[in-house]
């Protein structure tokens, strides 16, 4: 769409902090998501129409409007990661967690998702776990990672 003066006048540069506000709010939400109430808050605070806030929230795939688990596991589904490794990483995670892609474990610990290329092609198959790329995944590594998060949760709780 061509840059347009009307658009500039309507929203101006108020929008420059919108994506940042959404990312932070999601991070602080406790369930890795953006509730309707939170979106209305942000709309009011930044003086941006709710429809615009929703447009942005539903456009970007790292933002979620449905509550998720404490730890977000995002499996890279790029062709390079999908076809590398001897085993199907998706199946291994699903087995280890007892859930399917798109679901959250009943104890709220883990949400399993798929995401586009995360730039870890030299260590494929890889995944993002709470935003950090972990590569060269195999069954033992997966088990070790999940174990570590479970232990940390026990120690905190």
């Amino acid at each position: 769409m061509n840059y347009d003066d009307k658009n500039k006048v309507m929203i101006g540069d108020k929008g420059q902090h919108l994506l940042e506000a959404l990312i932070l709010a999601q991070h602080d939400s406790g369930d890795n998501s953006l509730s309707e109430g939170k979106l209305e808050d942000i709309s009011g605070q930044l003086d941006i129409p709710l429809s615009r806030v929703l447009e942005v929230t539903t456009f970007y795939s790292l933002l979620s409007t449905t509550p998720r688990g404490h730890n977000i596991i995002q499996l890279c589904d790029s062709p390079i990661c999908i076809t590398s490794g001897k085993h199907n990483i998706t199946e291994l995670f699903e087995e280890a967690l007892g859930i399917q892609v798109g679901e959250t474990t009943p104890d709220g610990m883990f949400t399993l998702e798929q995401t586009s290329c995360i730039g870890a092609c030299d260590v494929s198959p890889a995944a993002l776990i709470n935003g950090v790329a972990i590569g060269n995944l195999d069954k033992s590594k997966i088990d070790a990672i999940l174990c570590k998060y479970r232990e940390e949760a026990e120690n905190d709780g």
């Binding site: 769409m1 061509n2 309507m10 129409p49 429809s51 447009e55």
Partner: protein
Amino acid sequence: MKQINLTINNQLVVAEPGETILQAAKRIGIAIPTLCNREDLITKGNCRVCSVEVEGEARLMAACETSVIDGMRVHTDSKRVLTARKTIVEMLLSAHNRECTCCEKTKACQLQKIADDLEILDERYPLVYIEDFRKEYNALLVREPDKCIKCGRCVDVCSYMQYTYALGMLGRGYNTCADFSKKDDIDASGCIGCGKCAEACPTGAIYPNKHLTSLWLAIDDPNKFVVMYMLREAPFDLGDTAGLKEEISLPINKAIGFFKDIGIDVVLDATRAVCLCAKQREEEFYTIQESDDGEIPLLTSDNPSVFRFLEKHKNKLRGQLSMTPTPMQLMGTYIKTYYSQKLGLEPENIITVAITDDLSNKLEVDRPVTEKSMDIVLFNDEIPVLVAQTMVDLNTIKPKEFDQIFMQIPESNNKKSNIIVFNDPEEVCAWITLSTEGNDN
């Protein structure tokens, strides 16, 4: 300014700098099909149906967004262009609930027209649309999301024309769909009930609610006295409504004759209500001025959606908003009060039917801005349908005059008044900008 010479389909065209290929083609009568673009909108280049071949360019260019250049050679009907156009429309159809025979928009649907023109007679691509709801939000708007072709026009008018931002283009990729910010609650979404989204939508994804059934029910009810009124002198355009090929327009007197023939009891001219409205507004202004209670100037509109815009989106100006109803509302009130008294009828046994060219009046039926006075509101487009429903031979209709109704208009006070009548939200915003700039100085 230097003019631009280009050729379109080997014909020479002289265009102005800044014009698009689409505009230049119109000059020589070539109507390149479009779905998303409309002259007065920002939206362009979304559907790509207007893609044309430009010699020297590796790809096809969207005619609606490509500016003409001197020496350009354009082809609008080459095999490559026609294949692209057809394929895009076929793909759009596959993502669209194509129940044309039961669709409200049939024969007025732009997607249907392009498909007809391209002779698309089969469903080449698997249907991928997800069947969705049909939602009647209120007396004005009906929405069917599985017909949305994601052109973006509705969001465009709601945002950049009406400054309302009730609609947004949500999602990404094939999940994209235009929707209200508060889903089912369009009131809470900030909708001002102007109907511009319905006017802009090229398909049956958003369209105005129709009330001919209510009209027939009222006419058929022996206990109801049906009073129709309109602010109109121009003939009704019947278009090419089936079976009425001889008459394409219905002059007002013949229309009145037709309405009476089908059982409407009284047909009134609402023009005097315009004068009454102006006088009442003046009275209101003087009252406020004398009592020093209110702020001047007094803000008003003949368009109910502007009232809603001021209330919902420019709340600070609430104190300046006039309480006087619009001419159409006043007429309805007058009928329900003085006229019903004169006829000796109970107000609830009088059904007021307003014919309007302003969709925002439709919402007055269930969400009146000031007082409920309109029972049924018909948009101009519904009249040809009404005529077609009766299958009447228009040649046999005897023209009639408006019925007379006495309406006392107060004398003019000849005092100065400061009343601003806005036509649309854009005027409101422009006025606000001017006023705040003035205050800053």
